[in-house]
Symmetry: C2
Subunit: 361 residues, 2 copies
Amino acid sequence: MRSHSIAVLPGDGVGPEVTAAALEVLDAAQDAFGFTTERTDVPLGAEHYLRTGELLTPDLVERLRAHDAILFGAIGSPQAPPGVLERGIILALRGAMQQAVNLRPVRLYPGVPTPVAGLTPQRCDLVVVRENTEGSYVAEGSAVHRGTSAWTAVQESVNTWYAVERAVDFAFRLASVRRGRLTLCHKTNVLVEAGALWSAVVEEVGRRYPDVETDYVHVDAMCMHLPVSPERFDVVVTDNLFGDIVTDLGAVLQGGLGVAASGNLHLGGRAPSMFEPVHGSAPDIAGRGWANPAGACLSLAMMLGHLGEGEAAAAVEGATAQVLAELPALAGAGMGASTGELGGRIAAAVAQRPAVENSLM
Amino acid sequence: MRSHSIAVLPGDGVGPEVTAAALEVLDAAQDAFGFTTERTDVPLGAEHYLRTGELLTPDLVERLRAHDAILFGAIGSPQAPPGVLERGIILALRGAMQQAVNLRPVRLYPGVPTPVAGLTPQRCDLVVVRENTEGSYVAEGSAVHRGTSAWTAVQESVNTWYAVERAVDFAFRLASVRRGRLTLCHKTNVLVEAGALWSAVVEEVGRRYPDVETDYVHVDAMCMHLPVSPERFDVVVTDNLFGDIVTDLGAVLQGGLGVAASGNLHLGGRAPSMFEPVHGSAPDIAGRGWANPAGACLSLAMMLGHLGEGEAAAAVEGATAQVLAELPALAGAGMGASTGELGGRIAAAVAQRPAVENSLM
Ligand SMILES: CC(C)[C@H](C(=O)O)[C@@H](O)C(=O)O
Ligand SMILES: CC(C)[C@H](C(=O)O)[C@@H](O)C(=O)O
């Protein structure tokens, strides 16, 4: 029987709740589609950090590297200093595993309420390819005269041809099997050095994909167009920071963060990719069963597709979409069922192998 | 009679059309409220640039400096190299005149269609205070190995205590006369150096405004919250780049770019502030009368408030809101009237001195 080794990193807050739901769905998918997984639980997160001071260690990186994929819940806690867990775990993993792109589908499933008037599933089916290892996320800069009224802070965004090229090439490849349209989202009129590099990469890589039509949109204009005309976009490629911003807005169209899924993809075959719901640890609602497991389950579907379990991936996506369509509300007490109950329903639906019109990847 | 000297910079594309409409409204306001203006037409823009190669010259800066305010249309043309006019005129003016903040109200007027389901004017009344002189807009950086596969581009964001403090202080002052709530929007968990400075400034300046409640939101989360719960925000202070992004999203809530107004405010009394609609030159619809003059007229209202013509400001805002509420569509042929006709209607309404519930500033 096919077997995949999965590192499971439930994390903090609602992370363990949605991850438990996703694992129940994974069990059902294994039964229905005849494969197994070996799962290693990884205790990274706030609790572990506060107890041991440990974030992602080199040793852990080596152990994680041996897995076929990482299933990630959420990281973050008000008890830890701001940003430390995010940088020390999430961003550290994306970097250590060279997860070159963060793939974030912005897809509205039928029957899911969206706050945008008149938006339909037909009109909302795009994918954002976010460069995932550099840009402003090098999190580097410098400061002089810190703590005085002459304090000056310089924050840097680093863009290498190598990293931009692999993200852009991935995006073109994706566009060529989708609707054949790639949009570069940047702010080239102001970020002149970074913009010149990104534009040159898109131009050069584009020559390898003559059937893909390319265009360009400034990130500010993107935030204006995305809510009202998402149908303008098929594959959007953008830098780390703009991708972060644009996909949270995209999540709004999809029905909220609880529904949005993502894959941090390693493209070279030498390290695992990592799949995580776009939502955070949401400490305010942790432990109540109010988190929607859809984001985690759709991330699981992406993982299964990535592992070559295409049928299982489609069934998990279909099952999640089916259960989503039945919900009275997309999060909180109003969902009418707990995180765990919804996981159970999605798991039950997987056994029926429901189909979806397009798959996530 | 009170007199104000205004430099008028209509610019490119639809800029001259909306500016002409705004000037007709200004005429009506002068008649109704008993003041005059001396107007100097400034020919900056694509045509002038393409003919002479001239952007904002030091000489022009000196001549503009003598005015009480600048009324700006829009700049940008497909004939000019990308970004050159924007940086050489708009950004150059913001810098040369030390227009410390870009004030962008996000206000939904009654009767204006918004794409966000269920949004009401009561729930959508916030102001974004965008730092307007630095951050990523220093447009500086460096590159090595340009044009090769080792090309690496570094883009810099510069943040000085001086500029951040004056923007944050302005925002606190505004919050203290509004609903007493200030939100810092940044990405402190990733942009650590810039984030530390911004957070420290908000903390320190906040001590001077004990009655203003402060909170913090990451820019990605902001883009998620803004469309669905704008009522969470009163005054939002943010950096130049995030402000650019967030206010284009804000414009969506207000009914589109055609409605959004802005003021580039010089705070020291030694140079003019500049008032401009948030929309660009829209070359695709230039000359057709399809541009909505509301953004330009609301920017005029902000200018009048800034010049101490508070009653005229309120009347122009009220008249614009009144005409907006009557439009079948907010831009294009569907408006049912041309840019010029709408300017005429707003001008006529000004004479009736309509009132608005809150004024723009
Ligand atoms: C938690 C944070 C560091 C992270 C990011 O900024 O990438 C998150 O917002 C995301 O989008 O995955
Ligand atoms: C034209 C461009 C340089 C400008 C900016 O980025 O500030 C515009 O988008 C704006 O918001 O006024």
